[in-house]
């Protein structure tokens, strides 16, 4: 047993949340020891490109793929343990145990342990050629199989499935998607906009099968050759990508006695049930902007919740309370979603939802509570300020497309 007696802050999870937390500790003036531990061999990197740019041109990893450049960790006196798994967290002795028996001491912990992919458990699901997508290594393995003319089967049409479909089409593959829900990205977009997205994929040549599940896979010599669907169809494929959601990595927290329930329970300062332990990103189950509690699986949340955790350690009481915001790029579409777009609300559409450029506003009790923009990033920038600052604008004004959202925001601020 080796003890590295460092004290200070240990960040478990070297990803967007963990990397940003380390950086933000220094930015906020924390000058004690920082240890950043992650089980992937790479330093923290951005996951969004894994289903897009990294599949399209895997040989060109831009510098900005990694969230910090070259000497960042050394210059900022951040000890890094990449490619190392935390086996145990002991909050009594305040030690973290790595595989191989090394222990590191600490005063405070930030848990950024993220999620892992949910695996399919049907006949043939362990055949070769069936992929999941979560890490850089996953993305590299998949990209090697996406050559022109290959038949790609996608199980699940959430964000990952939809983005991989778009990338595979761009690479000249034939794509079939299977989704049990009525529309793609149902949880994020709701039924109407989900239906619009299904049409986009069909226009781009994807064979979109909705309200259809998978019962198993056919294989030859240990490799997948076809998908069996709930409607009895057998669909021949060369490669399968499964994107059916994720499971929070909350076992470490649970085993050390922290409150967990579908993730690590935190309050709106990112503190767990132990005042020395904080959690941020996909694994944190936190109070939500529009009520209730939940995990928020977005880049923005990983980043901003981690910044809040770091501020709370470096200074004090920095509340974190932001509406959900995410974006996805598919084909020629930049789609952004903010706030609550699935609860009952008055829906205002600016532009035509049968095209590829429009804005949808969800209004409740005179407040904009949800926004979807399709190739309208400028509208999102204005609408985000309207929503977050709870600026009252009459629905008549919002409905009138001759009123630019930015102008409405400006006028309301002056008069408001």
């Amino acid at each position: 047993m080796t003890l590295i007696d460092r004290g200070g802050v240990i960040i478990i999870g070297a990803n967007v949340a963990g990397g940003r937390a380390a950086e933000a500790l220094r930015v906020n003036g924390y000058d004690g020891p920082i240890s950043l531990i992650g089980d992937e061999p790479s330093p923290p990197y951005e996951r969004p490109p894994l289903s897009k740019e990294m599949l399209l041109s895997p040989e060109e990893i831009p510098e900005s793929f990694f969230i910090h450049q070259g000497g960042f960790y050394g210059e900022n006196l951040i000890d890094t343990y990449f490619g190392q798994r935390v086996e145990k967290l002991d909050l009594n002795s305040k030690r973290v145990e790595l595989g191989g028996g090394t222990e590191i001491s600490c005063e405070k912990v930030i848990l950024c342990t993220g999620t892992r992919v949910r695996k399919l458990n049907v006949e043939g699901s362990s055949l070769k050629g069936i992929h999941y997508l979560r890490t850089l290594e996953d993305s590299k393995r998949l990209s090697a199989e996406l050559s022109p003319g290959k038949r790609i089967g996608l199980v699940g049409m959430g964000v990952i499935g939809a983005e991989v479909a778009a990338s595979a089409r761009k690479l000249g593959c034939e794509v079939v998607t299977v989704e049990p829900q009525k529309v793609p990205m149902a949880r994020a977009l709701g039924e109407h906009l989900g239906g619009w997205l299904a049409n986009v994929h069909r226009e781009e040549g994807v064979d979109v099968r909705l309200e259809t599940g998978i019962t198993g896979f056919d294989g030859l010599n240990g490799r997948v050759t076809a998908m069996f669907l709930t409607n009895g169809d057998r669909v021949p494929v060369d490669t399968v990508v499964v994107g059916i959601g994720v499971i929070p990595n909350d076992e470490l927290a649970k085993n050390t006695g922290l409150l967990t329930d579908n993730g690590v329970i935190v309050d709106n300062t990112t503190q767990t049930s132990n005042p020395n332990v904080f959690a941020a990103g996909d694994v944190a189950n936190s109070p939500l902007y529009y009520g209730g509690n939940g995990r928020v699986e977005t880049y923005q949340n990983a980043q901003d919740q981690a910044l809040a955790a770091a501020r709370n350690i470096a200074e004090a009481d920095a509340p974190y309370f932001k509406p959900q915001w995410f974006w996805t790029d598919q084909y020629d579409i930049n789609l952004q979603v903010l706030g609550d777009v699935t609860s009952p609300a008055e829906v205002i559409v600016r532009g035509e939802t049968d095209g590829r450029s429009f804005t949808v506003l969800h209004v409740r009790n005179k407040l904009v509570v949800g926004v979807i923009t399709v190739n309208k990033p400028k509208d999102m920038a204005s609408a985000r300020r309207i929503l977050e600052k709870r600026i009252l604008i009459s629905t008549d004004l919002l409905r009138d497309e001759t009123n630019d959202l930015r102008q409405l925001l400006k006028i309301s601020r002056q008069t408001g």
């Binding site: 880049y299 910044l307 930049n334 990033p377 400028k378 204005s382």
Partner: protein, 105 residues
Amino acid sequence: MEKVVVCEKKDVVEDEPFSANPEGFPALAVYLVDGEYFVTDNICTHGAALLTDGYQEGEEIECPFHGGAFNIKTGEPTAFPCQTAINTYPVTLDGDQIKIEGLVK
């Protein structure tokens, strides 16, 4: 050194950055801040977004894609996930024209 015309003053409105593509330069963004003109690169150093599609508020420009931001006058990043500064170009006014210095070949 030869100066290059980027655009005309009338092209640029306060809080509405103008996209300019003079020959020999990367895509440029031109801003008006409190009566003064500024020029930066237009492509965000984080993603592949055009800053002229973003949201300008005073001397800050927010990227349209991911909410990162830069100071228009210095090019320094002011909000995550942007971390690398964008190039800025010293501006000269010549009548109605906005000019910057030509690149050294």
